[in-house]
Symmetry: C2
Subunit: 137 residues, 2 copies
Amino acid sequence: MLVSTRGRYGLRSMVDIAINATTGPVPLRAIAERQGISESYLEQVFALLRKAGLVKAVRGSYGGYVLTRPPDNITVGEIIHALEGPLVSVNCVTEGKEVSCDKKDTCHTQFFWKKLTDQINEVLSSTTLQDLVGQDL
Amino acid sequence: MLVSTRGRYGLRSMVDIAINATTGPVPLRAIAERQGISESYLEQVFALLRKAGLVKAVRGSYGGYVLTRPPDNITVGEIIHALEGPLVSVNCVTEGKEVSCDKKDTCHTQFFWKKLTDQINEVLSSTTLQDLVGQDL
DNA sequence: ATTAAACCCTAGTAACATGGTAGGATTACC
DNA sequence: GGTAATCCTACCATGTTACTAGGGTTTAAT
């Protein structure tokens, strides 16, 4: 169970934009170089971020990507969720949707998975992009 | 990012044994029936649990599996770890081993992944099999 | 000794996910 | 019109998942 490159690259890229967006939209080319990631693979990552409404694309020359909200208003959870889907879900406790395995009434593990999922979501939703940017290294 | 069937089946099976081991070793046949899981698939799950030293096999007729320690001395973390590998690791924060990506000094995301991993491990290591067994349904 | 219940081990397999690459189409600044 | 960028789709190699199948080994009961 490990976070895939999509999630890791995506989070790093969002931080990159937050830091480097002072002079206008940040092109993938620049992110790819700074972060050492293939540009065409980044395109696919950003397609997901765009669909999730976290970034906006500016096409054409001098274009690039910008955040749609200030960094302190974007949680890491939103980013990871957009790229990886719900984190550590177990079907029967996946948000909202009641997949309801037929063993529900006799399942001793259900409550544990819920607790774990809740804990993870707590961390994800309480950390913003700004928290990462403004951090001492 | 979801927990695979190996992890889910394994945890449920361990709970099953904890509950049903009163009359001696619990055969996979019985677990498979009660939990609605294919017996031969369970064999592979139990190979992992056995390698991790969490269960002991009793071969031959009237054999089966028994826990090697009392349920209040087996954490859910040990079980999941045996079946799924380290949970939500991101290479650069994987236990002990310093995979050390070359961006370490400039990486703003590292601290977040560590925090997340720590939180998850906290839940995993503080919940025992007994906690699941002794739970109201 | 035979049988049967159980664990043990390996191989195979269909479906899907991962981590990309390649190539072209579109948009917009100059 | 040229160029820099996003966009979109298809492809691909590799690995993982979730199994099934089939045989071998151990041991208790008869």
